[in-house]
Symmetry: C2
Subunit: 360 residues, 2 copies
């Protein structure tokens, strides 16, 4: 929605301490920190303290297939000890944050076919199958009202966070009531009973429906029983859930849950594995210390409920950990009108990356 | 879809024994039968055997509110002994048919509101409510997989067809396997166990979802949890179900079935009462005899699963029965490209209406 932008999205505009532009925070501004850090060290010392390779892609939001292909071919040039990815947020302004886990994803379409052609609900209602109702029946068979997923075997590889992670999360400044009121704005939070919000959004897998296509959704009343319908459904995965195994489990569960009169199939659109890094990893520890020096506060560890597929690939294909140092803020309006990057964070981030490279 | 018409829809074109045009069978051709029958008698005799009033509307497919308003005001001009409505089909070619029952309808929208704004399923999935999932949870709470509606009190006023109707239906030439394969084309028929197809489509109420709006249904994968979603849902009613009572029952059942974290409301779009006429009614008997003379076969009685709201209003407001003599054929492509009316049926229908008027 271009008209919601206060300044043109592709002409970076500084207002106050922020620069407003499409991708300012996610992820041009953050990528630029890495480039400028290396430039600074080269100018100052004429050399870098460690070998550095840049791997920059512009497709992350649309699948990222090119870089995945590159990585899977594993050219020797990619061999490294660790990766630095600046594509995450600080938990709160001024609070140096390292992300230690990302959820994976299995995103697909549930295709349901009923009658050969659309039917009139007056004439055929009562005898003909309804693919929209079938979708409702299938998805409620896959997940109950408590947010617990009923797919056999689905939770087998779900690991509990470590005691250190629980401790780190408990220390984060989090007000559940403010989160409900200001961020979500619903009558209450949902999800699996017995798990905290952090667990439910970072450390537990989920299933969500994103849209259901089929039939009539215009103004007024049309009495059609659609011949077919499609639901877009994603599963967020946590370590050690394997996307291809989950896909098979989902497909089998869909088959078992399909009501009489329709055929139903779950087709994969894309998948990515979850990833976890151990905060005790020396690269993470050094990054945390560098950030603590710059921000003057202890670095906190969080996970993200979202997915950055390249991190899973670094882990699985190159066997290297990713250091997710992020300098975005929760109110940066990622993917939205008036996306911004907080300029003081650019300076703090630059300093953090320089000190991190010097420590290695 | 204009390009599927073999001749322009608003230029009636005769091919073989059929005239092809939009509304040829539903309902211009059938209405014309009534006009021409009266014209014939006036020309032949200079007078009609009974008083005749024409009430013609062009809004039936889009709500028919004007004629409903007219009828509810009950101008004395509308007083009559019976109505003749030519807007139905013969059960099979050559088989004179009178429709003795129509289902009523309650058509509405289920509005569900979750979070204040659309949310990212990575960040909020696991804690935020999903209105699309809520719709699935609500509709599966309202109807089970057997097609049985679970709304308290919903079946209280559902009357069983009479023994005479069961007998009449049993005599209809009906091949369930051909119906499944040629008309519906699904893996099996659905609906309440223990009821025949005629009962399920003519004499039992139903609930159908016609479309679900909300979220993302374009190409590819967007990980949105929509803030709100709307499902279009209709209930077909049978005598003596009262639309306003059913609406209250549905609204209460929706309230009881609403999952945590969302608000849900069922808003009425339109409603019409079911209608039944007794085949023993003298107007029906005379119509049946007139048609038998013309077609040379015994008139059969069927019901229709659809709704013609004016028939319920004739019954409730004017206290008059409707004689539903129909001359359409099952393959007339109503509401579809290449709608046609079978010209021999025009002549047979004309003759039937003339003889009916003469008998009164």
């Amino acid at each position: 929605p271009l008209d919601e932008w206060l300044s043109p999205p592709f002409e970076p505009t500084v207002r106050g301490d922020d620069v407003f532009a499409r991708g300012a925070s996610d992820d041009k501004g953050q990528t630029w920190i890495l480039v400028k850090a290396v430039e600074y060290l080269m100018k100052r010392d004429g050399r870098l303290p460690v070998n550095v390779k840049f791997l920059i892609e512009g497709e992350e939001e649309s699948g990222g297939e090119s870089i995945e292909g590159l990585l899977r071919e594993r050219p020797p040039e990619l061999a490294s000890d660790a990766a630095v990815v600046c594509d995450s947020e600080m938990f709160a302004p001024g609070l140096p944050t390292i992300c230690t886990g990302l959820r994976g994803i299995v995103y697909g379409e549930l295709h349901v076919q009923g009658a050969r052609q659309d039917l009139h609900s007056g004439v055929y209602g009562g005898a003909a199958p309804n693919p929209l109702m079938a979708i409702a029946e299938i998805v409620t068979a896959l997940k109950n009202r408590d947010g617990h997923i009923l797919i056999p075997g689905f939770y087998d590889s779900v690991a509990k966070p470590s005691p250190e992670e629980y401790e780190a999360w408990a220390s984060l400044p989090f007000d559940e009531q403010a989160y409900l009121e200001k961020e979500v704005g619903s009558t209450c939070l949902t999800g699996e009973p017995g798990f905290t919000v952090f667990e439910r959004t970072w450390a537990r897998p989920t299933m969500e429906i994103h849209g259901i296509r089929g039939g009539f959704v215009g103004e007024g009343a049309k009495t059609v029983i659609p011949a077919r319908a499609v639901a877009k459904i994603s599963f967020r995965l946590v370590a050690d859930q394997d996307p291809s195994r989950v896909l098979r489990q989902v497909q089998q569960a869909v088959e078992a849950a399909t009501p009489a009169g329709v055929t139903a199939e779950f087709h994969l659109l894309h998948a990515a594995g979850p990833s976890l890094v151990d905060p005790a990893n020396p690269f993470i520890r050094k990054a945390a210390l560098a950030m603590e020096e710059v921000f003057g506060r202890k670095t906190v560890y969080m996970r993200s409920g979202g997915s950055i597929p390249i991190v899973g690939l670094f882990q699985d294909e190159l066997r290297i950990p990713s250091v997710l140092m992020g300098f975005g803020l929760p109110d940066d309006n990622l993917h939205s009108p008036n996306e911004k990057f907080h300029l003081p964070n650019f300076a703090l981030g630059l300093d953090s990356v320089i000190r991190y490279l010097e420590r290695l």
